[in-house]
């Protein structure tokens, strides 16, 4: 025993430190593996590549959306330089600008509210303690009814074709995955918050959905809220302008 201690004492101090660090690391890894049951370990192994795939697709989506916004800006610039008849070009460009703003293809900044909607602090096994797509839809609808003129959910602009869906515990808007916490932005009149909070249906939403299940709803009223431009597709496969409608130009 004395001989062993003497040999340890003879070792350089850096070797002892390193051995100690590696021992702690090994202990932590073993403890982590032992703490996970066989089922969890199996699902963890299955989920890791799926999470990687989802993150990779999300990155691609962000890049595609940026590209769409760049191309749209380029088109606006080229259309402005159109060499045709000046009056006609001006008229069409003004109509294009109006349609882009009306459809939500342009970023908007103005007075408004930013809401943050989060799951309950300690969500139980029940789905009710988690934010659902319907909760987000209800909040957006209440904002529209209170006079909001533009809205977004996380970075997705709410447009004429926006669906907000539950996929299990995940929420999608415009088919884009929304990472929690959920942020709903709205631009509207100065009294938007007052109108919202005095609306009977909003009060009912807070009473029946937010309070009893511990969902967390917070807000900020700001002079300048920015609602992003819609960076998705506007391609039409089935519908076409009604030929019987009176031509505008």
């Amino acid at each position: 025993m004395t001989a062993v201690l003497a040999r340890i004492r003879a070792l350089p101090s850096w070797q002892v430190t390193l051995t100690g660090a590696l021992f702690v690391l090994g202990f932590l890894i073993a403890a982590q593996l032992a703490a996970e049951g066989p089922r969890i370990r199996y699902t963890s192994q299955e989920r890791a590549p799926l999470i990687e795939t989802a993150l990779g697709l999300q990155e691609q989506q962000d890049a595609l959306q940026t590209r769409i916004l760049e191309l749209r800006a380029q088109i606006v610039e080229l259309e402005g330089e159109e060499p045709g008849s000046e009056a006609l070009v001006r008229q069409i460009n003004a109509a294009l600008e109006h349609a882009r703003i009306a459809g939500g293809l342009v970023q908007l900044t103005g007075p408004g509210i930013i809401f943050r909607l989060e799951d309950a602090d300690n969500p139980g096994p029940e789905r009710d303690s988690l934010v659902t797509a319907r909760d987000i839809r209800t909040l957006v609808q209440e904002l529209w009814l209170a006079g909001a003129e533009a809205a977004s959910i996380n970075s997705e602009r709410v447009t004429t074709g926006t669906a907000v869906l539950d996929i299990g515990n995940a929420i999608l808007a415009n088919s884009a995955y929304l990472a929690p916490p959920y942020e709903v932005r709205a631009i509207g009149p100065d009294d938007l918050y007052e109108r919202l909070t005095t609306s009977a249906s909003f009060i009912e939403f807070v009473r029946s959905r937010i309070e009893p299940y511990g969902l967390r709803l917070s807000f900020s009223e700001l002079d300048a809220v920015t609602v992003p431009a819609y960076a998705g597709t506007i391609r039409s496969r089935y519908g076409r302008p009604d030929p019987s409608a009176e031509p505008v130009r």
């Binding site: 989802a54 009306a102 809205a151 074709g161 907000v164 039409s236 076409r240 409608a245 130009r249």
Partner: protein, 224 residues
Amino acid sequence: MIRSRRRWAITLVAAILGVLVVAQLRSQAANPGLSNLSAQELTLVIANVNTRNESLRAEVADLERTVASLTDAHDRGESALDELRSDLAALEAWAGLTPVVGPGVSIRVTGEIGGEGVEDLLNELRNAGAEAVAVEAVRVVAGTVVYGLPGGLSVENTALPDGFEIRAIGSSQILTGTLTRAGGVIAQLGATYEGLTISVTPLDVVSIPATERNLVPGHGTPSL
């Protein structure tokens, strides 16, 4: 020599620990929501995001064609008015500023239903790819909400009759299939509202009017 080996050993351990810590932090911070999903939920999210990426790629290709066409006309000193007109027609139709026609469905709703139930139906139509939707004579655009309690529904300040129609343009097969599938939105609404009947009829031609809503912002400033 010994000092060099010592340095290498410490550097190696520090590097391994660094990689492990960064990987752990990244996997937790990159997307806290995704790490809470089951394998099945992740698969569904991947399928949805993938489908959206395909449609975004198609949009990018379309926009690149438009840029090329405008640049080409510009370089030759020619007018691209036709391109502008076609862009304008597509944009106005999509935004709800002009009437549109196309194949789709007519949905007849009879019996008592609340505004949130109708909104669930509209949300499912959008999810199924409806390109334009109208509730009776009102075009549904951003900001349009069907609200009220059963028996007292309104949309854009217009009361809805007891039996009303929703029309949508899109693939009549996909729209019908999505709405009427077992456990789908119609089945769920039928379980919530007693006596409610929702029938879906595929049509070759559906007409949807333009919106009467003023979509020009009065409070926000656009960043053009």
